[in-house]
Amino acid sequence: MADLSKARHKGFFDYLEDAIPKLVLAPTFLAALIFIYGFILWTAWISITQSRLLPNYKIASGYKITKKALKNMGHNGVPETVLEELQALEKRALTNKKSRFLQNVKKQIGLEQTHKYKELILKHSYTRDPLFQYKKLFNSDRWLVALKNLLIFASLFIGLCIALGLLLAIFLDQRIRSEGALRTIYLYPMALSFIVTGAVWKWILNPNLGVEQLVRNMGFAGFTFDWLVNSKMAIYTVVIAAVWQSTGFVLALFLAGLRGIDDAIIKAAQVDGASLPRIYRRIIIPSLRPVFLSAVIILSHIAIKSFDLVMVLTRGGPGYSSDLPATFMYAFAFNRGRLGFGASSAMMMFFVVMAIIIPYLYSELRKTRYA
């Protein structure tokens, strides 16, 4: 029988014991707070400044002719005629270079007028524009090329991976001998770094000594395959390598999904007289919808983050014809000393990913309320 006298009410050590779970989580909590959410805010802040080589924590500001500027100038005595002329400068971007701004003004309204109203013009057209970097971004040809490439890359990458993955999964599901070995072979590329994959495919697609040479040796003398250095086709080489690497993963997902389908449903369909392709088309594939969704979400995520593969395969080239947002960001933030500009591209990537992931996670978490 236990000694009742030893039992006592809640003391200090009991409260300490209650706190232990929270103490254990504390480092991770701090890490998440600082290194994830804090850093995101920090990058967001940089993206609204004009930071170039070094961070400059003032909101992007400079000189720009805006409607508000014109109105204020009018109120303060600048004549209508001058204002009308200045309107043409509205579409010019913000600039923090006073001299360049004044030069453009001079070109528009002449030296004399500029001199007369210089103070007023400068005072009222000095403005802050947090979206400065973002506007610059979407005016940048290179960024638009990167976005276009992302669209091409993502749709081909996702489409091909899913098509091939599903096809192979269905075939693999047909009670194949040595299925385990086959699966191991299809999946091994996932274990490799994108750099290794890129290095291999860079060699295989080598303009002179790779596929081109091989096919020529097989008799097709005039065959060329220079996609790697062809600015129109470079992005497609990235697709080839990425699909090779990631198909196995999609295959694994679909195989697991197929295995989870209730046998009884298929038997019922057979009793109803349906043929095999019809069963697949009308029953099995539709019931894989959640797997499709997972696959698309994860593949999109991989596509948007694609950096390694492009860097090793084409470096974004030739020129910037195979650039993607991730390589764009790195180039400007780390190589070209344009921190604010790079940060804005990073924030754009972040927003796009969040727009896809958050609704998905929200619906998943609502389904499985493991309280």
């Binding site: 029988m1 236990a2 809640k10 009991d14």
Partner: protein
């Protein structure tokens, strides 16, 4: 001195009130069963007694100690779980000794205790096996052994037999009863199975929606249910509820039973202490157990409380020792118990003897028993 005293316990999870004010007390050596449908709060109450959850308000005393804020390990309780909860990486011996080792009990005493407990539960040959190598019944015994080894003031059982198949469940039930008779420990036992409740309990607390509906011995609950819910919950097959009207018929008060084909029988209801005057011409619900409507009560000839009626047999369900006869009375399906040799086939009328000495009446609005 009461072994366990619960005073006005309330428990809420957020906005949901799971326990709405529970009070009871049990004596040392009693086996209390908490029984009720899922969601009634019985497992929550058990967790509160164990200290695995905190109470929202109220008081729990074990012995004469208020244990509200005392940790489970210091409350001198032991618990047996529905899932057995045996530590999978330890063998049976280590499972039994774990709680003792954490309490720094000397090694020799631990070994002695394990030997004693293993003998009592006949698990001595299993001491070196791991839980994954045991059958369901064996695991259950080890789980009980772990609790016994601790020799606590109160044992808590949380639906321990629900994971066993039907046959094993009956065997283990008897074993638990025998164990309780031998070592006379105080037990709080939670189950949803009313048969377990009836066979094991010294007293039963029937719970519904966070309240105790009735707290008495099994026999009292069986014969004197305090409301419609209790009456319907205990007993299998369950009590018949026949809607009737209290009538005055030739100086006697009672009910009319319409058994189909236009036939109607008057049953006088005369029980000491039951005043039906306020209920004349009002609707009531007559509760009568199936075994009280039979082909005959041979050893009760001359009992004025037994009356004869006749009804058409709808369905017969043989159970082996007897047959359940389903008839229609007052528009309701009524179950009766009869000898297999004395029944008539479906569609034919059959004479039935009704023993209304133990019948109970309920107010249809409040569902309370009339004349408690």
């Amino acid at each position: 001195m009461a072994s366990l005293t619960i005073t006005n316990i309330k428990k809420s999870f957020g906005l949901v009130d799971v326990l709405k004010g529970i009070s009871l007390s049990i004596e040392s050596g009693e086996l209390l069963v908490l029984v009720g449908p899922s969601g009634c709060g019985k497992s929550t109450l058990l967790n509160l007694i164990a200290g695995l959850e905190g109470i929202t308000s109220g008081e729990i005393k074990i012995g004469n100690r208020v244990v509200n804020s005392i940790r489970p390990k210091d409350r001198d309780i032991a618990m047996v779980f529905q899932s057995y909860a045996l530590y999978p990486s330890m063998n049976v011996r280590q499972n039994l000794s774990f709680g003792l080792e954490t309490r720094r009990v000397p090694k020799t005493q631990i070994e002695e205790t394990i030997r004693r407990v293993a003998n009592m539960l006949q698990i001595s040959e299993l001491l070196d096996r791991k839980p994954s190598q045991l059958s369901g019944g064996q695991r259950q015994r080890v789980a009980m052994g772990r609790a016994l080894a601790r020799d606590p003031v109160i044992f808590l059982f949380d639906e321990p037999l629900s994971n066993l198949d039907a046959k094993l469940r009956v065997e283990m039930r008897t074993e638990i009863k025998l164990l309780h008779q031998r070592i006379k420990t105080t037990i709080v036992y939670v189950t949803h199975d009313q048969i377990e409740a009836m066979t094991l309990a010294d007293r039963i607390a029937i719970m519904k929606d966070g309240n105790i509906q009735q707290f008495e011995t099994p026999q009292q609950i069986y014969e004197n249910p305090s409301n419609l819910f209790v009456a319907g919950f205990i007993g299998s097959p369950s009590m018949n509820f026949i809607p009737c009207r209290i009538a005055n018929h030739g100086q006697r008060k009672g009910v009319f039973l319409e058994t189909g084909n236009g036939r109607s029988f008057f049953l006088p209801i005369e029980q000491s202490g039951l005043n039906l005057d306020p209920w004349i011409d009002r609707e009531v619900i007559l509760g009568i157990r199936p075994e009280k409507i039979s082909h005959g009560f041979p050893d009760q000839a001359g009992n004025p409380q037994i009356h004869e009626i006749e009804s058409v047999v709808k369905v017969l369900e043989p159970t082996g020792p007897d047959v359940l006869v389903f008839v229609n009375i007052n528009g309701k399906e009524v179950t009766c118990r009869a000898n297999p040799n004395a029944v008539k086939p479906p569609g034919e009328p059959m004479k039935l003897m009704v023993d209304i000495s133990k019948a109970v009446l309920f107010d249809p609005q409040t569902e309370e028993r009339i004349g408690k």
